[in-house]
Amino acid sequence: MSARDNILGRIRAARGAGPTVTAAERAAVDERIAKHPIGVRPAMPWETVPRFIEQCVRMSSTVDRVAAVGDVPAAVERYFDDANLGKRAVVWPEIAQLDWSATGVVVEARPAAGPDLVGITGVHLGVAETGTLMFLSGARTPAATSLLPETHIAVVPIGRIVRAMEEAWQQTRDEIGDLPRAVNFVSGPSRTADIEGLLQIGAHGPFRVHVILVG
């Protein structure tokens, strides 16, 4: 008997079930997964976009808003100047396709590495309930770009903001089907309170998360 069979056998014996999984038991599991019902949630008496902005700020992200995607490069340059971040960034390919020529910002479309200071990404979805950014890993959406640099800028079209995490999962099933290697939900800059319970912003992940809403 393998360790697997021993463990699963002990569990079945403990719950008084027969030695092998029955078709009915598998069907019950299939049904729960197929239906994936939403559980009990708190009241959500708010509009998604204002809630998203409010909760981003609560999680210590900063938020800017522009009318159209063409306005993003100027908004990035403004943020660079205000935060004194220089002029260079590594970006997702979709961000590199914007017209950066009118700005002094130099963007490189490659995954972030250790020394890179600013990463600019798009987003899969935004989650209004908690001010959360949702990223899917992939060839054109490297996870490192939202993780290694000290500053992370995310471009979020307002049409991509959903109510809560349950809606985010349903929309992901509808649009993508199976999950990618990594789904990352990011809510503000990294933090720790491991020394005397005092909150420090900027542990191992970015110190700054700046959200540029589009629309």
């Binding site: 729960r32 995490m165 290697r181």
Partner: protein, 477 residues
């Protein structure tokens, strides 16, 4: 009263061989007492819970989600395994703690691993994984700031989510100055940045990343991680090999189910509406991916857990490791985590430890509680912790595990209690003796063979006994 003394700064875990001895030492350790008061996780939780207008319904639902998975646990685990394997994850099963260490070492040997970086894993604390890896020549670096601090000090965590809760900034300043060879600075912001700088090197050079798993998602075969520092993301993204270690009880059916539980997990743990990073990992690097590990492994651990299934202890397996029970426990808050002697402190530790390592090896733990039920009230998945501790106490009595003095004393009491006349006489004599011992102050300063009067006086009996008063009342006088 004894004088309070400062701790020597040596490894606190080693001192004292029984819970009572360790608790006694901690109760007189001013530094630990002060450090514990720096954290106010209970207050943070209270503020965060106000946002959930239907908290009781949400807790009931969360408990139901955990119970549903536990009811058919093997079927959900089998489904998780199928879905994980389908996406390229290697699934391993560990019956014992020794199995965990053996499996990790085998994976490491096969992949020529030399340096291991770790995100927080309490299950790996159960198996003393770091020691096993180091004994085999591997370099192991804990990357959660609190875990990093206690690793450098050679200690074990004193809290499941705030491992260095027993230390203060000066302890960390001394430690970093010694190990990093940097100028001493006791500013927590500076210390945090220093740890970031030193650990970043390790993140970029680690061959294997080891994480825990807050949950396993059966629907997608994914590992679900909830973190704040970002070390969980780095540990599972940068190295060539990722190994997640978690218990059999952590499987949850669907992404919706885990989303429900998350609402109460982060609020209960740190008072956050959500942790900064929630990461769902589903297999190794895909074709075209520029980051992620080449190999992903999940080790599903039994090590005593299946013994609780189908018993009056099963509810303990609902635990989602938020730490709220310890944050609200008057006993934990005064003695800290090391006094409990094993991986999980506080009320949940007092239940899990006797179940996992044997009731006879944790004789004091079910008694390390006032049964005030603060833990039961705050538990996000409604584990009836005081009831479980009471049941463990009963099992100790049934199995004759209590000390002979206690058993003898109870037998004596039972003998008298079964003889009302004699009992009344004995109570009367005891009350008279107590009154004399109290003297004019009415206080007894020292009870024989009892530590109770070390910290306070015992009020001496006064007036008539209950039985005398009752008899008088019945006689209509």
């Amino acid at each position: 009263m004894q004088n309070l003394t400062e701790s020597t700064g040596q490894s606190a875990t080693a001192a004292g061989s029984t819970f009572k001895q360790r608790a006694h030492i901690k109760l007189h350790d001013v530094k630990v007492q002060r450090a514990m008061k720096n954290f106010n996780l209970a207050g943070a939780r209270a503020r965060a819970m106000v946002e959930l207008d239907n908290l009781e319904d949400i807790r009931t639902d969360a408990a139901g989600i955990r119970d549903r998975a536990l009811a058919d646990l093997d079927v959900w685990l089998e489904r998780f395994e199928t879905e994980a394997r389908r996406r390229g994850t290697h699934v391993h099963w560990a019956e014992t703690h020794a199995d965990i260490n053996r499996i990790v070492l085998e994976i490491a040997a096969k992949a020529s691993v030399r340096k291991v970086i770790k995100s927080k894993s309490m299950v790996s604390e159960e198996s003393h994984l770091n020691a096993a890896l180091e004994a085999n020549g591997l370099k192991v670096v804990e990357t959660d700031l609190g875990e990093y601090i206690i690793q450098l000090r050679g200690e074990t965590p004193s809290h499941i989510i705030a491992p260095a809760i027993h230390l203060n900034r000066d302890d960390v300043a001394d430690l970093f100055a010694e190990h990093h060879k940097t100028p001493r600075n006791n500013d927590p912001a500076v210390l945090t940045m220093e740890a970031r700088k030193f650990l970043r090197e390790h993140f970029l050079s680690g061959d294997m990343g080891i994480s825990g798993g807050n949950f396993l998602i059966a629907e997608t075969g994914s590992v679900y991680l909830v973190t704040n520092e970002g070390n969980g993301r780095l540990t599972t993204t940068m190295p060539r090999v990722h190994v997640a270690i978690t218990g059999i009880e952590k499987v949850v059916p669907t992404l919706e189910d885990v989303s429900s539980v998350l609402r109460v997990l982060t609020r209960s743990a740190t008072g956050q509406s959500i942790s900064n990073y929630v990461t769902i990992l589903t297999g190794p690097k895909r074709a075209g991916d520029t980051d992620g590990p080449d190999e992903m492994h999940v080790i599903i651990v039994d090590a005593g857990r299946s013994k609780l299934l189908g018993t009056d202890m099963q509810e303990a397996l609902r635990c989602i490791r938020c730490g709220a029970c310890m944050n609200h426990c008057p006993v934990y808050q005064n003695i800290g985590g090391h006094a409990y002697g094993w991986v999980y402190p506080g009320p949940i530790g007092s239940v899990l430890t006797p179940n996992y390592i044997g009731l006879e090896n944790a004789i004091d733990l079910p008694h390390a509680a006032t049964l005030c039920n603060q833990c039961g009230v705050v538990c996000p998945v409604k584990i009836p912790l005081p009831d479980l501790m009471r049941k463990l106490r009963e099992k100790q009595v049934d199995r004759g595990l209590r000390p002979w003095q206690e058993r003898f004393g109870l037998r004596m009491w039972a003998w008298f209690a079964a003889r009302p006349g004699l009992y009344g006489l004995a109570a009367k004599i005891a009350a008279r003796v107590g009154r004399m011992a109290g003297g004019s102050s009415g206080l007894i300063h020292k009870l024989p063979g009892n530590g109770w009067t070390e910290e306070r006086d015992f009020p001496a009996p006064s007036g008539k006994t209950f039985r005398e008063l009752y008899a008088a009342r019945k006689a209509g006088r």
